[in-house]
């Protein structure tokens, strides 16, 4: 019964106009306790769907495959009640846009404390715990803010309230889907710092979904790079960003403009990102890949280890370092 979440060949199919679309295709990685795993990839690469599959909130009509091992159970196969128990109490989630993700017609206290109330705590106890949670999430004078509505909070405070809400069920794993995308840079830095503090002090496991490499670089211990619904590369953050073992990661890293220096922008990655709906055969990245050859067009590369803990899905990973 380890507190490690293991994704084993996770598959998510969504109904589309022309039949089911495999938006997550055999994704495997794990989230060890007390570790932050960053999940990056461009828009539509299936990051959100992966996170939603973990918490079990896929859109209507979605079907899943593979396995999600959590505390000895396969979350894809447990009954509805167990699934619901896991939600909020064992695995909690923070959503992208804190304004949209908070119910506009309920007070902050009510929303943060809802899970506690459902657990049968009395009012004063709930109130005390909510104040504590808000305090831990870094909301100043939490007791005075209890009866505020979401719209009366600033963006950063809303996200803090979301974090308090997620912590209310005392989860072991926190899923954060683009938690800072809607925020200003200065606020973003503060929220990221907070997330890291909480993760460290509570010993939480965390999945940080983002398309922003800088954010992941700052917070995550490990990264998983997704492209068109598949894992392209995964490994320790420093290794992956410094010595990518997949041309896509390489290109991503190169595309991020530095702030204090003027980089060249010499050879931006050509083409548009592949989507799960029209995923090229073979390696999904091959149309944009500078290393692509015939084999890439026909054969889907397996995820293989290039170093301890460092995995890639590229036939020619070894050549990448040479070309830099």
């Amino acid at each position: 019964m380890s507190d490690m979440l293991e994704l084993v060949g996770l598959v998510v199919d969504l109904p589309g106009p022309g039949g089911a679309v495999r938006v997550v295709d055999g994704v495997s990685f794990d989230i060890p306790p007390a570790t932050t795993v960053g999940l990056i990839g461009e828009s539509g690469s299936g990051k959100t769907m992966t996170a939603n599959a973990i918490i079990g909130l896929l859109p209507d009509g979605a079907t899943t495959g593979g396995a999600l091992c959590w505390r000895g159970d396969d979350l894809l196969r447990v009954d509805r009640r167990r699934r619901r128990r896991v939600r909020g109490r064992e695995i909690a989630m923070i959503f992208q846009d804190p304004l949209a993700a908070l119910n506009p017609t309920q007070t902050i206290a009510r929303q943060v404390g809802e899970i506690l109330r459902r657990d049968g705590l009395d009012r004063d106890e709930v109130r005390r715990r909510v104040v504590d949670l808000l305090d831990r999430a870094g909301i100043p004078e939490p007791a005075r803010r209890l009866n505020n509505y979401p719209h009366e909070f600033s963006g950063g405070m809303r996200q803090r309230a979301m974090i308090a809400l997620a912590l209310a069920g005392n989860p072991a794993l926190l899923l954060a889907d683009e938690p800072t995308t809607a925020l200003d840079v200065t606020v973003q830095a503060r929220i990221l710092r907070l997330l890291r503090t909480i993760q460290e002090s509570e010993g939480l496991a965390m999945l940080l979904v983002s398309h922003d490499l800088r954010v992941v670089a700052h917070v995550a211990h490990q990264v998983v790079v997704m492209y068109a619904g598949r894992v392209a590369e995964r490994g320790p953050t420093a290794t992956v960003l410094r010595r990518p073992a997949h041309p896509y990661t390489r290109a991503l890293v190169d595309s991020v403009p530095a702030i204090r220096t003027r980089t060249a922008l010499a050879h931006p990655l050509p083409g548009t990102p592949a989507t799960p709906a029209n995923r090229p055969a073979g390696c999904a990245f091959h149309p944009r890949c500078p290393l692509a050859r015939e084999r890439c067009r026909t054969e889907q590369p397996a995820v293989r280890s290039v170093a301890p803990d460092h995995w890639t899905a590229c036939h020619f990973a070894e050549e990448i370092a040479d070309r830099v």
Binding site: I55, L57, D60, R84, R85, V86, R87, G88, R89, A92, M93, F95, Q96, D97, A100, A101, L102, N103, P104, T105, Q106, Q111, E114, I115, R118, Y149, H151, M162, L165, A166, A168, G169
Partner: protein, 309 residues
């Protein structure tokens, strides 16, 4: 808050003035005049002319309009030629019956409509949704008078469980209120359905689910209140439309309300009563809209009546 209500009431006065002027214009443009209709087909032209003068209807329309406005400002709506009584007091005596009918059917419509809409909207596309959607359209597709007469035949004549026409006891209220409520229920149900379905797509519903709530808890605890916001507006706006249904229902069920008074007044070219009734209805509709807005800001804390934030 008070200031806003006052402001709304002032705008309301403007709107009521507009409504009153509109009806003043329309009834006077319509052919046929009070004197002729009062005296009936047996009258001779001299008598008609005489009565027209007596009623002050020989004056230029503009003069009449100015007098009308001056009277309205003093809340004097004149006397009904037909009934020989102050028009407004006549309208007011009829108001309770119509109010009873309209409020009951609104209550029926809201209770059933919201329930059905909630059931359907919770899972769009499912069986319940299809059944509710189809049956609500069906409900809207029967002419009100036809439904009314059928209900009379079935429940009063054949089953003999309810009185057919007339007013007074709660039993008398059932058939007319149901007749009036049926299409309205359908409207509310359909609107609630759309609204619930839309709300269920909101991110905060996902948040609620991520707390491990059951679907009914999510639906009632998080979706219902937010979905009701547009419903409240429509219910407020629908009062005018309900009045239209009330005219027919009152006719069928001999309900002693405002609707039949208005129909008779229009037929009898009873200008004063038509004007007083319009004025009153416009006022009530405005009031309902104000109440809807107040309710609105209760339902949605983001909306402050006084938006000066």
């Amino acid at each position: 808050m008070i200031r806003v209500i006052v402001k709304r009431l002032l705008v309301g006065v403007l709107v009521m003035w507009g409504a009153a002027s509109l009806i003043f214009l329309i009834v006077r443009v319509a052919p046929g005049d009070p004197a002729t209709i009062l005296l009936g087909p047996d009258a001779d032209p001299a008598q008609i002319a005489e009565l027209t003068t007596r009623l002050g209807l020989d004056q230029p329309k503009l003069t009449q309009y100015v007098h009308f406005l001056a009277d309205v400002a003093r809340f004097d709506f004149g006397e009904s030629y037909r009934l020989g009584r102050p028009a407004m007091s006549e309208v007011l005596t009829r108001l309770p019956a119509t109010a009873e009918l309209m409020l009951t059917s609104t209550a029926i419509a809201v209770v059933f409509g919201v329930t059905l809409g909630l059931l359907a909207g919770a899972r769009p596309g499912r069986m319940v949704d299809r059944v509710v959607s189809a049956s609500t359209i069906a409900l809207q597709s029967f002419p009100t008078f036809w439904v009314g007469i059928m209900l009379i035949l079935v429940f009063a004549l054949w089953l003999g469980v309810l009185p057919s026409a007339d007013a007074g006891t709660p039993a008398h209220l059932v058939l007319p209120a149901v007749t009036l409520a049926l299409p309205f229920t359908a409207t509310v149900a359909r609107l609630t359905r759309t609204s619930v379905a839309e709300t269920m797509r909101e991110p905060y519903i996902q948040t609620a689910r991520s707390k491990g709530l059951t679907e009914p808890q999510v639906l009632l605890g998080h979706a219902l209140r937010n979905s009701l916001i547009p419903v409240v507006t429509i219910v407020g706006l629908h009062m005018g439309g309900l009045m239209g249904g009330a005219v027919i229902v009152e006719n069928v069920f001999a309900w002693p309300g405002l609707g039949s008074l208005i129909v008779d007044a229009v037929a009898g070219r009873d200008y004063e009563v038509v004007q007083a009734a319009t004025f009153l209805i416009a006022g009530i509709v405005m009031l309902f809209n104000l109440v809807a807005d107040l309710l609105y800001s209760r339902l949605d804390p983001r909306i402050k009546l006084d938006t000066v934030s």
